[in-house]
């Protein structure tokens, strides 16, 4: 059995009086991807912020690498990729990607060199000096993901990373992300609205209930990050898993 790298036990959280998370348990083995799907407003984003140490939970524990750490300790081990790319318009693509390196005190030249070495593989060659507004939606997400990876954190929290893209670009980006994670494996928590995206990119998908969020179903993905996405998502096993997840999701949304 693989040892869990990230584990969440009995997590409870409130916004004032409103309970957003109720006794939630999750576990992610090292270098695996956990997909989270759930009804809108069920507290998925809050959960990511709790995992990343951007908030402290009311009760429960979140352990990374076996240590149950406080929020600042988790913050040091998790990187967050928000739904909108939030690239800084005053920096070039290269400086945006190198932001974490610069924040940790690396020199300008050294940070740019290290980020620049990955531009080719990220399909961004030639756009080092471009400003974010000059990049397409897919390129912006790639810069944002590079920025997240270069934080050198073992845990990545991705909050609907491709929600703003059109369907074709999104499918391309999923395949692309799968390839990047194969080269540079991390422990990933992926929040998405898209069941197909969750099942394709994740090793395991957890379906969350309406607020307050609990895990109502958890299923293993049939072919995590298969090189040929189109073949993988039309496979019979995949379609069956998607139907099961959709069913669980619909039940979760309907249940009062």
């Amino acid at each position: 059995m693989t040892r869990d790298f990230l584990s969440v036990r009995g997590l409870r959280h409130f916004y004032g009086e409103l309970q957003t998370i109720d006794g939630l348990d999750l576990s992610v083995p090292a270098h695996q991807v956990l997909g989270l799907v759930g009804p809108s407003g069920c507290g998925k984003s809050t959960l990511l912020e709790l995992i990343c140490g951007l908030r402290e939970a009311r009760a429960g524990e979140i352990a990374i690498g076996g240590d149950a750490g406080s929020a600042p300790e988790r913050l040091a081990r998790c990187a967050f990729m928000p739904q909108r790319d939030l690239l800084l318009p005053w920096f070039t693509a290269l400086d945006n990607a190198a932001l974490a390196l610069r924040n940790r005190g690396a020199g300008k030249a050294a940070s740019r060199k290290r980020a620049g070495e990955l531009f080719e593989r990220f399909g961004l060659a030639g756009f080092e000096q471009a400003r974010p507004e000059q990049l397409s939606g897919g390129m912006r997400q790639r810069v944002a993901f590079l920025r997240t990876l270069l934080s050198d954190k073992p845990v990545l929290a991705l909050d609907e990373p491709f929600a703003s893209l059109d369907a074709i670009t999104r499918a391309e980006m999923q395949e692309w992300l799968a390839a990047r994670l194969a080269e540079d494996p991390r422990t990933v928590v992926l929040v998405t609205h898209d069941v197909e995206e969750a099942l394709y990119l994740s090793d395991r998908v957890a379906v969350l209930s309406r607020r307050p969020a609990r895990v109502v179903d958890s299923l293993a993905a049939p072919a995590p990050r298969a090189p040929d996405r189109d073949a993988a998502v039309t496979d019979q096993g995949f379609v069956a898993a998607r139907e099961r997840a959709m069913h669980a999701l619909r039940e979760a949304a309907d249940r009062p």
């Binding site: 990187a79 967050f80 939030l86 800084l88 005053w90 932001l99 940790r104 934080s151």
Partner: protein, 250 residues
């Protein structure tokens, strides 16, 4: 260039109409005044030329007050905005007072400042700084506080310190706000300098306007007004130019 065409045409039309009304004596007649009290644009233009040495000398005095006062307000306003942004206690304590302070008519405290600071450049600088400080501070503070919460969260997970968040995210984002505050302040500078000079001085365009008023030199008063508005307009233009050079991402 196109966007200047309509205002330029309107201005030319207004000056032309004024020229006809004043040049023919019709305007003075309608106001029941001696014609020399109602100068035409052409007369103001020749007064500008004839009095160029005097206007340049007094203009330089006023320009210095305007520029130095503006720079003081800029430094103090930006610094204070950052301070208020970083300290919530300080912000909650001083923000309402800052707003309330704007109800104090600067013209009323100008004489007090002259009593305290004398007849030299200092009371004028103080008044210009006071009128410019508010728009710069408030706009910059609004800009700093307009940063998206998600951008700050993102920076925190990218190991940014408070200072790095300020320098790399909040401050650049606040720049356009600070510039618009500075542009508003630029328009107020000459008003501040003028109040200061009216209350007590022996040089400057405001001083000259008072003397000309006593001597019924209306053409030269208008000439001084033209120079004053040119000063404010140049400062405004300079700030707009700086903004275009610095805020390249908009």
């Amino acid at each position: 260039m196109r966007r200047w065409l309509l205002p330029a045409l309107l201005l030319a039309g207004l000056i032309g109409a004024w020229q006809i009304a004043a040049g023919s004596g019709a305007l003075a007649g309608a106001l029941n005044l001696e014609p020399f009290l109602v100068p035409s644009p052409a007369e103001i233009g020749s007064s500008l030329w004839e009095n160029r040495a005097l206007l340049a000398e007094n203009g330089w005095v006023t320009l210095r007050e305007v520029l130095l006062g503006f720079v003081f307000a800029l430094v103090a306003g930006l610094g204070f905005a950052v301070l208020l942004h970083l300290s919530e206690t300080l912000r909650r304590a001083s923000y309402p007072l800052l707003i309330a302070s704007q109800t104090i008519p600067i013209i009323a405290i100008a004489p007090i400042l002259v009593v305290w600071l004398g007849f030299g450049i200092w009371p004028k600088l103080a008044i210009v700084t006071l009128v410019c400080f508010f728009p710069i501070t408030i706009n910059t503070l609004d800009g700093l506080r307009a940063t998206e919460p998600d951008a700050i969260k993102l920076m925190r997970t990218l190991d940014a310190s408070r200072w790095q968040i300020l320098r790399r995210v909040e401050a650049p984002g606040a720049l356009p706000y600070a510039f618009s505050g500075a542009r508003i302040a630029a328009v107020f500078t000459t008003i501040g300098a003028l109040f200061g000079e009216w209350v007590g001085s022996n040089s400057g365009l405001g001083h000259q306007i008072l003397l000309d008023n006593g001597q019924l030199e209306t053409a030269r008063m208008f000439a001084a007004v033209v120079v004053l508005s040119l000063i404010a307009l140049s400062l405004f233009g300079l700030i707009a130019l700086a903004e275009r050079r610095i805020v390249t991402w908009r």
